[in-house]
């Protein structure tokens, strides 16, 4: 490798959620510095929850992130329900899963089409694409609208859900609405196929780096809510032992904490789920994976977007199956399940679009007294930096702007959600 000096300083990465900077400093071919800096202001959510009635927690924490608001709300509800000994009904579980699929679809479509695809199509955003490839943009908007409408029917709206509440729902979709959604999901299949075709054509940068992949897991289904924590390095942990997996650490250059489990870093998100839970994907999704040339265990982080496309296929099909189940049972106007106790501690976990999310609450007499939230992007930060350290030496021969672009694309592939990762709390429990 030629001795070379290189400095990359990307201020506010674009097409990601929240503010982050990339700093790379190579002197005489030696990597001196390689960091992803989180410059988002801390949001103090855990502190804000203190003293609030437990019913408000999911409404407040959904405001951590506008993109995975349903995910935060669901993890929050699960934490509260476990703390207060509430067992949601089967209908609630089904509706929450369907709602969750809506969010996974919405977020993945946004990321794959509007944030990642422009890189491969040589444009700076989806806006010029509207002129050059209107069919692609309109397809993305169409698919996103259906995902949004799916959320809307169940919880009122995707960004900051309304009807999700502790123990159940405050509103139910009608049978007619579900039937209409099912029809639209079926009609969306050609768009899903076209999405697979599009990403078949985009060739992802060639970069492999093996790491530990962590996701929630259930034997019986491709898991997004509850389950156990599972690793490709082997081992499973109950959700309530999440701390022994995440091992949060404060690092100096970032307002978000880093995590590590068996190695120095691990990855969460669509690729991790794909690697951990491949067997649970439905057949259409598996077929799409073959078509897209991705198989477990895939160690190219750029393939995270491709794994998202596989999940799009899975979620569309599973949504149809879930609606069929709900229709067969018929929607019942259930009152939310009341708490079994008013004090306790609970952990809720979900695999949101960007990876595994944990909410942990301590509740006393119906009021939150302690809270901790561990966000996927926070868990990915150490792994992103490890990838950057691995990537930079392999592309040092390229001009600076190419290096910068490759790094930015790498970070973007993780679909980072920086505003939520800036949560910073020395967890205190009473």
């Amino acid at each position: 490798m030629a001795a070379k000096n290189l400095k990359v300083d990307i201020h506010h990465i674009t097409r990601v959620e929240g503010h982050g900077n990339i700093v790379v400093d190579v002197q005489n071919g030696e990597l001196k510095q390689c960091e992803l800096t989180i410059v988002e202001t801390p949001r103090f959510f855990e502190a804000m929850l203190r003293g609030r009635p437990y019913l408000e927690a999911s409404h407040i924490t959904s405001r951590i992130c506008g993109i995975c608001a349903v995910g935060h709300a669901t993890a929050s509800l699960r934490a509260t329900e476990r703390a207060l000994d509430i067992e949601p009904t089967e209908q609630t579980v089904l509706l929450r899963k369907l709602n969750f699929h809506g969010e996974i679809l919405d977020s993945h479509i946004l990321h794959a089409y509007m944030l990642v695809a422009p890189d491969f199509l040589g444009v700076g955003s989806v806006i010029p694409l509207a002129k050059t490839a209107p069919d692609v943009v309109l397809r993305a908007l169409r698919m996103k609208k259906l995902s949004g409408d799916l959320c809307k029917a169940i919880c009122g709206r995707h960004t900051h859900p309304i009807a999700l509440t502790v123990g159940g729902f405050t509103h139910y979709p009608s049978n007619d609405e579900l039937v209409a959604l099912r029809e639209r999901l079926e009609a969306m299949r050609p768009d899903v196929d076209a999405t697979v075709e599009l990403f078949q054509k985009l060739s992802m940068p060639d970069f492999e780096r093996d790491t530990e992949y962590i996701a929630l897991h259930k034997d019986e289904e491709y898991c997004f809510i509850d389950g156990v924590i599972a690793s490709t390095d082997g081992g499973t942990w109950p959700i309530k032992h999440y701390r022994s997996v995440t091992n949060e650490q404060i690092v100096e250059h970032s307002s978000a904490k880093h995590t590590h489990n068996k190695r120095d870093a691990y990855m969460v998100g669509a690729l991790a789920r794909f690697n951990v839970n491949y067997n649970q994907l439905n057949s259409k999704a598996k077929a799409a994976a073959i078509a897209l040339g991705i198989k477990p265990k895939c160690t190219n982080p750029y393939m995270n977007t491709v794994a998202q496309v596989v999940e799009i296929v899975h979620c569309v099909e599973d949504s149809i199956a879930l609606i069929d189940k709900l229709l067969a049972r018929g929607i019942r106007q259930e009152e939310p399940v009341p708490p079994g106790r008013l004090s306790g501690e609970g952990v809720g976990a979900c695999d949101v679009p960007r990876g595994t999310l944990f909410h942990n609450y301590v509740i006393e007499e119906g009021k939150i007294v302690g809270a901790n939230c561990i966000i996927p992007t926070g868990q990915n930060l150490a792994n992103i930096e490890a990838d950057m350290r691995g990537l930079v030496p392999t592309i040092l021969d390229q001009p600076q702007d190419k290096v910068a672009q490759a790094l930015e694309m790498l970070v973007r592939a993780y679909d980072p959600c920086i505003s939520c990762s800036a949560h910073m709390l020395d967890v205190k429990f009473v």
Partner: protein, 251 residues
Amino acid sequence: MSPKPTVAFFEFTSCEGCQLTVVDSLQDHPELLDAIDIVQFREAMSEKSDSYQIAFIEGSCTRPSDEAKIRAIREKAAIVVALGACAHLGGINAIRNRSDMQEVREYVYGDKANWFPTYEPRPISAIIKVDAVLPGCPIDRNELVKAVTHLLQGRMPQIPDQPMCIECKLKENVCVYTQGKVCLGPITLAGCDAICPTYGDGCEGCRGTISNPNFQSLREVMLEHGVSEEEIESRLTMFMTNQILAMAKAQ
């Protein structure tokens, strides 16, 4: 037609959900892209120009260093619109203003309490003059499209000074008070089509109040429905913390 107005989006402390709602509104109104020229929108695009006529600012100001950035936007833009509750009211971020700032910092950072130069979250209007507001957490898509239409017509977006109950009744929702829930509808600015009561939950006041809210009478209503003083305070300080604190101070 006159050339398209140039529009830029900025965010400070927020969840970026309002900007996502802007992206979402393209689903029903792709023609938005024909009507305006978006020149800066970090969340969704890499292209960037610093020459713009209309600036939409999302998020609240939570640290002294944001102030200069906000002022710079004001200097460049002819029209500044506050986008969403964080920018309009301080939003959910302002919940922490109920506690002493130093205490919050210590709770969060322990002995490193003074590491981060954050201060009490405040609306954008606390820093600069704001020409118009799109309230809500998140903003309402239809209201956004209407606001853009008004800007194209050369007038300021205006939110009618009407309470939520009006919209709620027009939707023939069953009033959530009759279902044992709390609602700030009678004092909250309408415009979201009473979406929370429509989905079975009481209004949380994310859009701020009408010009003459009758807080006193609403408190009585809540007490009558068995809501404790504590829960009342809690509900009133979900989005309106800054207003409630200002009222308490004035007394």
